[in-house]
Amino acid sequence: MTDLAHKRNFSIIAHIDHGKSTLADRMIEVCGGLTNREMKEQVLDSMDIERERGITIKAQTVRLDYQAKNGETYELNLIDTPGHVDFSYEVSRSLSACEGSLLVVDSTQGVEAQTLANAYLAIEADHQIVPVLNKIDLPASEPDRIKAQIEEVVGLDATDALEISAKTGMGVGNVLESLVAQIPAPDGDASAPLKALLVDSWYDPYLGVMILVRIHDGELKKGMRVRFMSSGATYQIDQVGVFKPKATQVGALTPGDVGYLTASIKTVAETPVGDTITDDKRPAEGPLAGFQPSVPVVFSSLFPTDNAAFEDLRESLAKLRLNDASFAYEAETSAALGFGFRCGFLGLLHLEIIQERLEREFDLDLITTAPSVVYKIHMTDGAVIELHNPADMPEPTQIDFIEEPWIKATIMVPDEHLGGVLSLCTERRGEQIDLTYAGSRAMVIYRLPLNEIVFDFYDRLKSTTRGYASFDYQMDGYRQSDLVKVSILVNAENVDALAFIAHKGQSESRGREICERLKDLIPRQLFKIAIQAAIGGKIIARATVRALRKDVTAKCYGGDITRKRKLLEKQKKGKKRMRQFGEVEIPQSAFLAALRTGGD
């Protein structure tokens, strides 16, 4: 057992692609955690999607035994944090399990929005932060400029920032030495009642739910009965262990340790991130600070393109939920799209990840409706309703007022693209809070309605700045707003799946946009088709699909009958994928395309 003075718990925080995972790999290599044969690129990102996207979704951890230059051996616990804004609560929990962080900045790029957001989270967690300039081997590297930027923008002393190349391994030894020298050792009382922070959890098909914990006080041993302080549920511990990075059982976890436990728990929903685990027999007086249940902020409906796949979708969602308690779902019926599920997500990336996993791992073809946020509807009778689905909006006469969620967004952007970013933010009802310069980069902070972000903000930001802007946000409360539900009608029949909520000032242009798009997507038929956008009973935009003018086979004789009948067979098959609206048939593919293209 290592004494506290020889333990160090740390995180690596960085903007995407600044080299966090590569640095982690190098450190594992240097400390001999894995043989070369076992080394795969970025071992810590184990899910396919994480590997492909270069992001970390679940927190992972590794214990390294490092022999320092002073001759002593230290136990270094690296907790790799999720690197995306959707998971900022998880990030803050991971950070609270450590005493310090390495702030990795790409020395060819500089500080980006996520660098900043994560650095602030680390500062809030009282971390000792060690700035690390990565990619120093590249010709475009500008360590001095980036150091100045770190001091100016992040407000950290960067004089002694380490200059490394995680790719070549250059300087990685210094990083390990600095960890030992600069990051404080954890404290804790081994004889006090057990207090362990639940950092993360995931489902393992053999062991059940695995829980990643950081021990603050007391000891965690196999066979103990522990209690989860948020729910009061108790479990018998089956295994305790650490990741080296392979799961390795140990006799006990003691203060300062980061490790795992298993207790035959079936679903991750029973193991909320941020919870405190204590000894059932000798419980701690109170939990660790900062627990909050995770709440979905973005909602979207998922429908199988083939209605027959509805049960498959249900099963797949249940399987995913085993391992991701942060998304919620309930069955939903749409006249346009059939049976599906309304799902809640932590953010847009989370939505994309779930959608992609359903399509990839469970082989489902899905239609995803436009994402929506959670509105608070204050009814005239005083009740407050949380609205997750525009289709469920109450009658306007019953509504007193509506509140919508806002965010505080941080955007880093090169000078020459600043104008575009400012007008985008203004167009999206943004309110400027701050605008500062660091060299040729500007940092703008805006308050924006979340529903403007889920619409197509990322795409627009990317195209306006040619990909040079970085963006991060945090939730910033609810505010009253002039919002309306826009319904889409096809030949006077409501198409529920296309309804959306918009600010009154934008409702007309958004309505027109979707009418125009549908007009191009719905094939001409015998009758003309009116597509309308409406607020309540008032039509705000319309488009017309003209009636078919000519559609007849020119030549049809003896031999052709067989072929002509094949055309009918094809039409019959196609009809199964049509949705009937009055006398109009709309191919499901038209809805799909209308929803997919978002607002371009």
Binding site: L526, K550, D551, G558
Partner: protein, 383 residues
């Protein structure tokens, strides 16, 4: 006593036109005597199951039947008259190409028994003829039409329109010239780009819907004014001058097809229903067909009993192409049940109310508006 028509397919052409997706082949030297014997053998074979039937029409199609020797045509027609009795208004049509025929040949065909000619003019514009891959010029086309008029009492001219870039005014003036050459019958087809053709490979664009509609309506109006009303989507005739053979297809009557890839529809007696119909398909590749016939097995690739629903669909989708529509009595004779009992009443009413279909005392017909959008009307009625 049942009546039927006979289609004879001559699968050879001098060259393959870029729009054509018919079963046509360019062949070098061929043994015409062998082909003649094969046609005769097939006629003998079909005679066994069509004893006591009356032949109302024969149609030589292709390919390019004007490449056949008149002797062959004569032998085929003689055999037909030997095997069956023919109706009083027995119609014998042969298709001909301006590039592979002349007055002497027309006369030889007439002597052989052909009494109606269908001439593949395709255009009166040289530029269009080149585009369509035709081997004749507009001068040759006009000459052929005049010679046909001199030799045959009944002849039809075939044209293709709605070519890429063709304007309504250009087509209108071409139509005026066409009418000057025509007598009782014109087939006017809009160009369609069929899979497997050179045009399809070259991604030649078909006329857009709006242009196609204007051209279609223009054609109908001009032809009506000239007295050659459209009796079918693409076919126009003076009253009584309709192609009796082609009417067999559209009215759902019976026919046999002889030659590579030809199709037939015959009632099956073995089910003892009288109304059950078999679709017959001949072997498609010319030499394979010839060898199968020579071996004594016959040229049939397969015979498939049409299901009730399939037969119903055929009768409707063919019948509604005709301006006269579907005659209730004929339908009941061919199908064994009244037409209106076979259709979804609500759909029928809806399409009638909207002016796409029209119910007479004895017929159900598509209106002009409906015929122009027949594919969609059919989909709305029976899909």
């Amino acid at each position: 006593m049942a009546q039927f028509g006979i289609y004879i397919h001559w699968p050879f052409c001098e060259s393959k036109c870029p729009y054509c997706d018919f079963n046509s082949h360019v062949s070098g030297i061929l043994d015409e005597a062998a082909w003649r014997d094969a046609y005769l053998a097939e006629l003998n074979r079909y005679a066994v199951e069509t004893q006591n039937h009356v032949v109302t029409s024969v149609y030589f199609g292709g390919g390019t039947p004007s490449l056949m020797a008149a002797d062959t045509v004569a032998a085929v027609l003689q055999r037909i008259q030997g095997l069956w009795s023919v109706s009083n208004d027995f119609e014998v049509t042969a298709e001909a190409n301006p590039s592979s025929s002349n007055r002497a040949q027309f006369e030889a065909f007439r002597k052989a028994g052909v009494n109606r000619l269908s001439l593949g003019m395709q255009s009166l514009c040289d530029e269009s003829l080149v585009f369509l891959g035709r081997r004749h010029t507009s001068v040759e086309a006009r000459r052929a039409a005049l010679e046909a008029a001199q030799v045959f009492d009944r002849y039809s001219l075939d044209f293709i329109y709605a070519l890429p870039g063709q304007t309504a005014s250009a087509w209108r003036s071409e139509l005026e010239q066409i009418l000057a050459l025509a007598s009782g019958h014109l087939s006017l087809y809009q160009l369609t780009i069929e899979p497997g053709t050179q045009f399809h490979k070259d991604r030649v664009p078909a006329a857009g819907e709006d242009v196609a509609e204007v051209l279609f309506r223009t054609t109908r109006n001009i032809m009506q004014a000239a007295g050659l009303a459209d009796y079918e989507i693409s076919n126009h005739a003076l009253p009584g001058e309709e192609c009796r053979h082609n009417l067999i297809y559209w009215r759902g009557e019976y026919y046999i097809g002889i030659g590579p890839g030809a199709h037939g529809r015959l009632p099956t007696h073995r089910l003892n229903e009288g109304l059950a119909v078999e679709a017959i398909q001949e072997i498609r590749l010319p030499n394979a067909w010839l060898m199968a016939v020579q071996s004594g097995e016959g040229g049939t690739q397969k015979r498939t009993a049409l299901g009730r629903e399939e037969r119903l669909e055929e009768l409707i989708l063919m019948g509604l192409r005709l301006t006269e529509g579907i005659e209730f009595r004929r339908f009941e004779r061919l199908f064994g049940a009244p037409l209106l009992t076979q259709l979804d009443k609500q759909k029928l009413e809806h399409l009638t109310d909207r002016g796409f279909l029209e119910q007479g005392e004895n017929t159900l017909a598509a209106t002009a508006k409906g015929r122009q959008r027949l594919n969609a009307v059919l989909a709305a009625l029976i899909v």
